[in-house]
């Protein structure tokens, strides 16, 4: 097992450092998140009570959209320069490659967006008891976004209009994460102890995605590489 763990972590480190040195992807996702959350109150008007009520939903929906932006690139650059085929012939099975790239996507997208979310919560007048749960719900929920998103990224690798198609395929599958993520924060604001059921379901969704999604993503990658 440890023979596989080393190349696994090397692949994760490679992808994270590529995303970090490239710099563009992380910055664009954060900037997009900031923009969407800023534009919404401009459309609704500065009604603080209303903003408090919609804050959990806005923060989660905007986070999903921002994470979608970088999903399409997860395997694309590696397919274009041929490194995906080199990886596929290496010691790591495709399932582990898909899992490593999903994990790297989460570190470079899910984590920064989660860090930014409480700052944006200030703009939306999120009540103080919401911040801790907001960050916890996003830490629990964003892995599902990256891992399920990897399936979509692998499926749409060779399609025309890949990005838009990816959004159409993925949004239905993201809805459970979204519903329970928002529910966790909303319950916590209303009554500090009542958020546990939603939070546990959210964690269950994430853990299931962590195990099952790389299998589906690896199947899709295998079909793409057979061509």
């Amino acid at each position: 097992m440890s023979a596989l763990m080393r190349p696994f972590w090397q692949l994760v480190r490679r992808d994270v450092s590529l995303a970090w040195k490239d710099g563009g992807a992380i910055g664009v996702a954060l900037g997009f998140y900031l923009m969407v959350v800023t534009l919404l109150p401009l459309g609704i008007g500065p009604d603080l009570a209303l903003l408090t009520r919609i804050a959990p939903g806005v923060l989660w929906v905007a986070l999903l959209l921002a994470a979608l932006l970088s999903l399409a690139r997860m395997f694309e650059t590696d397919l274009e320069d041929g490194s995906l085929e080199v990886l596929a012939t290496g010691p790591l099975p495709l399932v582990a490659i898909a899992a490593a790239k999903s994990l790297a996507h989460w570190i470079t997208t899910g984590l920064p967006l989660t860090v930014l979310a409480p700052v944006l919560g200030l703009l939306l007048n999120l009540p103080p008891e919401g911040y801790g749960v907001l960050v916890a719900s996003m830490l629990a929920g964003t892995p599902a976004v990256s891992f399920v998103g990897a399936v979509g990224a692998a499926l749409t690798l060779r399609t025309r209009r890949g990005g838009l198609l990816l959004a159409l395929l993925m949004l239905p599958l993201f809805v459970p994460t979204l519903i329970f993520g928002i529910d966790t924060v909303r319950e916590a604001i209303l009554n500090s102890a009542a958020f546990w059921p939603a939070f546990l379901i959210l964690s269950a969704i994430s853990l299931t995605a962590l195990v099952l999604a790389p299998i589906a993503a690896a199947a899709a990658l295998r079909f793409q590489l057979q061509q």
Partner: protein, 251 residues
């Protein structure tokens, strides 16, 4: 001894068998739906809902079919990926637009029924939302297939997506238990159905008729798809032959 699915792996045999069966299925579906509509017109109005209850006789079969067709697509996809059955992809491809159509029908009739009953066309009830997601999933299946030029690759990727999307079926099935406005299962349940017999019989006849309708349309669409693939193969063959002759003439 070959099983039926094995012997149908030969598309020519499928075409021959389906050509004989299709008129009977189509006629049976027309007959059963006609009988069903007759029963619907004579069915008594519900004591609370009045005549709007008649929307149910289209709405419920369409909703059943929307889930049944998705299950059929998932089984076909499994048949393609695991057993490489040659007709499995034809079946999955032919069923996707039909499933989308039945889901759309269920949504539209549900909205028409919701306006007088709940006071709004759309109430974001868990069942409505999950069926809407099923509709998006059908659209995703169709869009993914149409955006990949290589047909064999499109078939395998669409099959993968349909197997991933199967998680939505239990969500729809159990969504009525999450403080929904929809009533819980009243026909297919342990013990006796909670729906009155005067309404149950027309509903079952309509469900049988619409399932036969789906079967007829599905078989027809599968035949069309097989013929389309043959025409495509023949064209490619003809183009190859013409290219080969041209090459010989040039050489």
């Amino acid at each position: 001894m070959q099983t039926l699915t094995q012997s149908l792996a030969n598309p020519t045999r499928f075409l021959a068998l389906s050509a004989r069966l299709l008129p009977w299925i189509a006629a049976a579906s027309a007959l059963v739906i006609a009988i069903g509509l007759g029963l619907v017109f004579t069915a008594p109005p519900d004591y609370q809902m009045g005549h709007t209850v008649k929307i149910m006789f289209v709405h419920v079969p369409a909703a059943w079919l929307s889930m049944f067709v998705y299950a059929l697509i998932a089984v076909s996809s499994f048949g393609l990926l695991v057993f490489r059955h040659p007709l499995a992809d034809v079946s999955a491809k032919a069923a996707a637009p039909l499933g989308a159509a039945f889901t759309f029908l269920a949504l539209v009739t549900g909205m028409l029924w919701g306006k007088p009953m709940w006071g709004a066309f759309w109430v974001w009830d868990p069942r409505l939302t999950s069926v809407l997601l099923l509709f998006f999933l059908y659209l995703g299946l169709i869009a993914l297939r149409s955006s990949i030029d290589e047909e064999a690759l499109a078939a395998k990727l669409t099959a993968t997506l349909s197997l991933v999307g199967i998680v939505i079926l239990p969500v729809i099935k159990f969504s009525v238990d999450w403080n929904s406005l929809h009533q819980p299962a009243s026909v297919m349940r342990l013990g006796a159905p909670t729906i009155h017999a005067s309404l149950l019989w027309p509903l079952l006849v309509m469900a049988a008729g619409m399932t036969l309708l789906f079967a007829a349309l599905h078989v027809k669409a599968m035949r069309n798809e097989i013929l389309r693939r043959r025409v495509k193969a023949l064209r490619a063959f003809a183009a190859d032959a013409a290219g080969g002759l041209a090459g010989q003439a040039a050489g």
